[in-house]
Symmetry: C2
Subunit: 211 residues, 2 copies
DNA sequence: TCAAAATATGAGTAATCCTCACATTTGCAA
DNA sequence: TTGCAAATGTGAGGATTACTCATATTTTGA
């Protein structure tokens, strides 16, 4: 029916039961891999639970043993992406100490993200559903805040005299604008997308460096 | 099943049959009104076709006589919003002739949009689904391009020496960033939302006025 | 006046998410 | 080893919902 999924209560989906044995942990991996493949092929909306189970070589029941519902699978994949990318972002920004360094690091980060979005249909699809799914939206928001904090830390170092609250707002906004710019860029042609990303970079750096 | 809706082919949904008689035109209005009310109450995902029909006082069959599927109803509502707002935006920008005027007009437009998003749960919900629904995304993109063109026209007047293509990119990006900023602002608390919108305004105006 | 076109109806079809009662496997203490 | 509880596995079937279609009614226009 899918009406079940539609009536999302916003609760962050969590495993119904954490896999404790080696066997089940491997099976859960297979389920996630199958889901990822299917999302890459057809998008998460078109992903069917039965197909995920079949491709993972498990029964429907097993799927629901570890994931309370369909959204939970997508959420689990999304969480992995955020965890991975946060480490990368933190590393890129942690020892930035001057304006030039920030410009360099930020520019590289944007490039990395853009390439990632272009290359990974799964990631693209998952973050597309962000607005519609409350749990995903909250994950993305939390992720964005965490990443913005790395930026904020840099800004506070570069501009110790500035109002910290203003810097936080700026960093958060700039980061979110970046994600929006990426989504826009990949939904138009490649050429226009490149131009938009470049324009975003200029705009963001001006905001970050100048004040 | 809803699987039907899930497998969106991206086709812009169009009425299966345009209502040609007065009677049916009124009924279609009732259907849209019912849908709008339900979306406002529960969101478009939770909106049930049966409920729309019941509330509009028509049968399920009649609903499907004029709307090929569920998404088409949401799309029809979205289209109305875009049509209405484009007139407003065009009017606000059409006779801007200097930097100060642009600052004034743009700032007012942002405020209007922000208030609208805060006050209209239906609008909020519809544009939330934008990323997930291909037809909606295309509608929004087209709308955004149209609005950005009004901005581009102003910019070309203010900065005749600048590269027109660059101005177009800037205007489009700034506009899309604005929509993203609104979505972000309404998904956090009111206070932070206000701050984010204010920060966006500053950022956008700097980009638009300076270069 | 009346036939064709437009409109209206709602029971039924199909697709899909998810549950649950029961079967099997694993970990572990006696 | 043995036995038992906990963890894991299964898939037929329940439940919901988008959408169809054969049929009935109303409107239009010649």
């Amino acid at each position: 029916m899918e009406g079940r999924v539609g009536s999302q209560d916003g609760q962050i989906a969590s495993p119904r039961r954490a896999p404790s044995q080696q066997r089940s942990r491997e099976r859960v991996e297979r389920m996630l891999a199958a889901a990822s493949a299917l999302i890459g092929e057809q998008g998460s909306d078109a992903m069917r639970m039965g197909e995920v189970a079949e491709r993972a070589g498990v029964s429907i029941g097993s799927l629901y043993q570890f994931f309370p519902d369909k959204r939970a699978i997508v959420w689990a994949l999304a969480e992995r992406y955020t965890t991975e990318s946060q480490a990368c972002i933190s590393a890129a920004l942690v020892d930035v100490s001057d304006a030039e360094g920030l410009g360099q690091a930020f520019s590289e980060l944007v490039d990395i993200y853009y390439r990632l979005f272009l290359a990974e249909p799964v990631m693209r699809d998952i973050w597309s559903g962000t607005q519609a799914d409350k749990a995903l939206r909250e994950l993305e928001l939390a992720d964005s805040r965490a990443n913005a904090e790395f930026l904020t830390a840099v800004l506070k170092r570069l501009r110790p005299a500035a109002d910290p609250a203003a810097l936080e707002t700026t960093a958060f906004l700039v980061w979110q604008m970046g994600e929006a710019a990426m989504r826009l860029a990949i939904s138009v042609g490649r050429e226009e997308g490149d131009r938009l990303v470049a324009a975003y970079k200029r705009m963001a750096l001006r905001e970050l460096l100048d004040q």
